[in-house]
């Protein structure tokens, strides 16, 4: 039995499609940034696309997500159209945050996705509370809370995981260990052998996974989710991966050893998946190339459409500070 390739062609192509969408959107965003056509920052998930893709693929409608900096595939996996992502980065009035927030700080709650706030760790208790509430209301939600290696050093990470453990809340705390927090490597962030060693201290299950293997993740997380949906409790899932660009596009990331990047480049999750699918006979190279071309066309169109979307009207500045009702 090979769990990795024990997947239908349709499902496998859907995974690849989400990863390709993210990659092609981010490539466009990078160009826009360097052309000075995006204000504020651009932060990319290059190399980490598998994680959001696999975790959303195994999720159900009621599930809740708190994506972090590099999780465009969470949004795409939950159905956010590329056009809305461009609207967000371009600060359009009809984007997910209506120009009130920018770049990676978005989320659509009708898709079960909370909008990220910058304070690392701060969303972890939010998704925990959200899952508690949904379950109380009779919806068997599972939560997915994403955090970087650096984010695990925040007090909020600790409080949230412990809180979820005490209340048996089924949240998968997905640590994306991409080896760096801005310029800071793991060695200056923590001393444990692996961040999965934190699990025992919360009395929860800890799982380590290859964060660049979308099919493997799909199988691992699928099984985990099924388990905790039935027998609610949190899990710490540590995905080993690599940030393949600078922290943001303003940062050339030159502090990252070149060899490290070269090694990981061979483990690019898009490449890995492509090779797996071809090797397992699930898809041909030509089919995958066609998929990529279709994705690229979709992304181009979404971008063009978003360009025509309206900018916020300054007169609306104060609208929505308070909810009314």
């Amino acid at each position: 039995m090979n769990p990795q390739t024990d997947i239908s062609k349709e499902a496998a192509l859907a995974l690849l499609r989400v990863m390709l969408l993210a990659r092609r959107i981010e490539e466009r965003l990078i160009r826009l940034y360097h052309q000075g056509r995006i204000f504020g920052g651009v932060y990319c998930g290059f190399g980490q696309e598998a994680i959001g893709t696999a975790t959303t693929a195994v999720s159900s409608a009621d599930d809740l997500f708190a994506p972090c900096i590099r999780d465009m595939t969470v949004h795409l996996g939950r159905g956010t159209p590329p056009r809305d992502i461009f609207r967000q980065f371009l600060g359009r009035a009809n984007g997910p945050t209506r120009g009130r927030d920018g770049n990676i700080h978005y989320g659509e709650l009708h898709r079960g996705v909370f909008a990220f706030i910058s304070h690392l760790g701060a969303m972890l208790p939010v998704v925990t509370g959200g899952v508690m509430a949904r379950r109380r209301l009779g919806r068997p939600a599972v939560g997915f809370a994403y955090i970087g290696d650096g984010g695990t050093s925040t007090g909020d990470f600790h409080e949230a995981v412990n809180f979820a453990a005490v209340f048996d809340v089924p949240v998968i705390f997905v640590v994306e260990n991409n080896q760096f927090a801005y310029s800071t490597p793991n060695a200056h962030q923590f001393r444990c052998r692996s961040l999965v060693d934190r699990a025992v201290g919360y009395g929860i299950q800890g799982v380590t996974a290859d964060g660049n293997d979308v099919l493997g993740l799909h199988a691992t997380v699928g099984a985990l989710v099924a388990e905790i949906r039935e027998k609610p409790r949190p899990v710490l899932l540590v995905c080993e991966t690599m940030r393949m660009r600078g922290h943001g596009e303003h940062d050339d990331g030159s502090y990252v050893p070149r060899e490290l990047l070269e090694t990981w480049a061979k483990r690019c999750p898009l490449l890995v998946a492509r090779e797996q699918l071809i090797a397992a006979g699930i898809a041909t190279a030509a089919e995958l190339d066609a998929l990529d071309a279709a994705v690229q066309a979709e992304v181009n169109e979404a971008y063009q459409q978003a360009l025509s979307d309206p900018l916020p009207n300054p007169a609306t500045l104060m609208e929505g500070v308070y909810a009314v009702g």
Partner: protein
């Protein structure tokens, strides 16, 4: 059937009880609020009556409490959480300022949650169990801040706070818990947030205040009246954000002399906001400078002798009023 007088604390408990009874979407959690009934016993009996899945204890994790409340609020519940002392909310202000306070603006999602925060001094609590933090909360966009002074108001405003679609910080002055009582009607409804109340009419000066200081101001107004016949109005703001600017401006128009009193620190205290508002909007109505009588800029001291010097009270307010009336 006229009931006995009800304490401020019991009034809050009544509001919580009613919320739990009438609204299945209300849940309450915090440190030791379950079987134990909370550090001040405000939630006494509620877990027993409504079950541990509606009223429950948490670990000592303020950020998790506030963050989880926010998550729940977005999912159709109305959490009412307790900070054991408001002082400890300072470990997690980012959850209020950045997360809860901005959510609706950023995403259009409402977050109906209430943070109950016992506050204030006067009982030798020292620097970490006596803080008055309303100035912080009021500076945060997207939050509402309520600060009652009387049992009836506390009960009716807490109901309103919990029914509001926004995050509301509900400040409970600990000194009032057992010191203040009044007769409460059996039938009651929420009080609109953002409405001040004239507790005492007057035409010579107005004290703009809230919380425990309302009672000190009322006593001071009596003293002034007894001493020189002056008629001092006392306006209880009740809600600091939204602030009832109309009532404030009307009070200034009626008296032309303003003393602002609060128990929090002077520099950047909420009294500064009130003074600035009056100086901007009612400048032409003033016969005298706008004075503030507040705690000084020092940590809340423990020893009684020091705390007495630290905290405003009726005598200090009287002295200030007598001087202001001469101005």
């Amino acid at each position: 059937m006229p009931s006995a007088e009800t304490t401020f604390l019991e009034a809050i408990r009544q509001a919580l009880q009613r919320l739990l009874r009438e609204r299945s979407d209300v849940v309450m959690f915090g440190q030791d609020i379950g079987a134990f009934g909370g550090a001040f016993k405000v939630t006494a009996g509620l877990q027993k009556e409504f079950g541990a899945d509606r009223v429950f204890d948490t670990p000592i994790s303020e950020s998790a409490i506030l963050g989880a409340a926010l998550g729940m609020a977005t999912m159709g519940l109305r959490p009412v959480v307790e900070m054991q002392f408001s002082d400890f909310a300072t470990t997690a202000l980012h959850q209020l300022l950045n997360n809860a306070g901005t959510l609706h603006y950023r995403t259009g999602v409402a977050a109906p949650l209430v943070v109950r925060a016992p506050c204030g001094g006067g009982f030798a609590g020292g620097p970490f169990h006596s803080e008055e933090l309303e100035a912080f909360f009021c500076h945060m966009p997207g939050l509402k801040v309520v600060y009652p002074a009387f049992p009836a108001d506390a009960r009716a405003l807490l109901l309103a706070a919990a029914l509001d679609p926004n995050p509301v910080v509900f400040l409970e002055n600990k000194y009032l818990y057992r010191h203040v009582k009044e007769w409460l009607p059996a039938v009651w409804s929420p009080t609109t947030l953002g409405t001040a109340r004239v507790c005492r009419p007057g035409s010579d000066a107005v004290v703009l205040t809230y919380g425990a200081m309302v009672h000190e101001a009322l006593r001071a107004a009596e003293l002034v009246h007894a001493e020189d016949g002056g008629e001092v109005m006392v306006l209880d703001l009740r809600s600091l954000k939204p602030l009832d600017t109309d009532s404030i401006l009307a009070a200034v128009a009626a008296t032309n002399r303003v003393l602002i009193v609060h128990e929090g620190w002077h520099t950047g205290g909420f009294g500064a906001e009130i003074a600035a508002l009056v100086a901007e909007r009612a400048f032409h109505l003033l016969d005298a400078p706008i004075w503030r009588l507040t705690a000084p800029d020092c940590p809340v001291p423990f020893a009684q002798e020091l705390e007495k010097a630290y905290r405003p009270n009726a005598e200090k307010i009287r002295d200030a009023l007598l001087e202001l009336l001469e101005h």
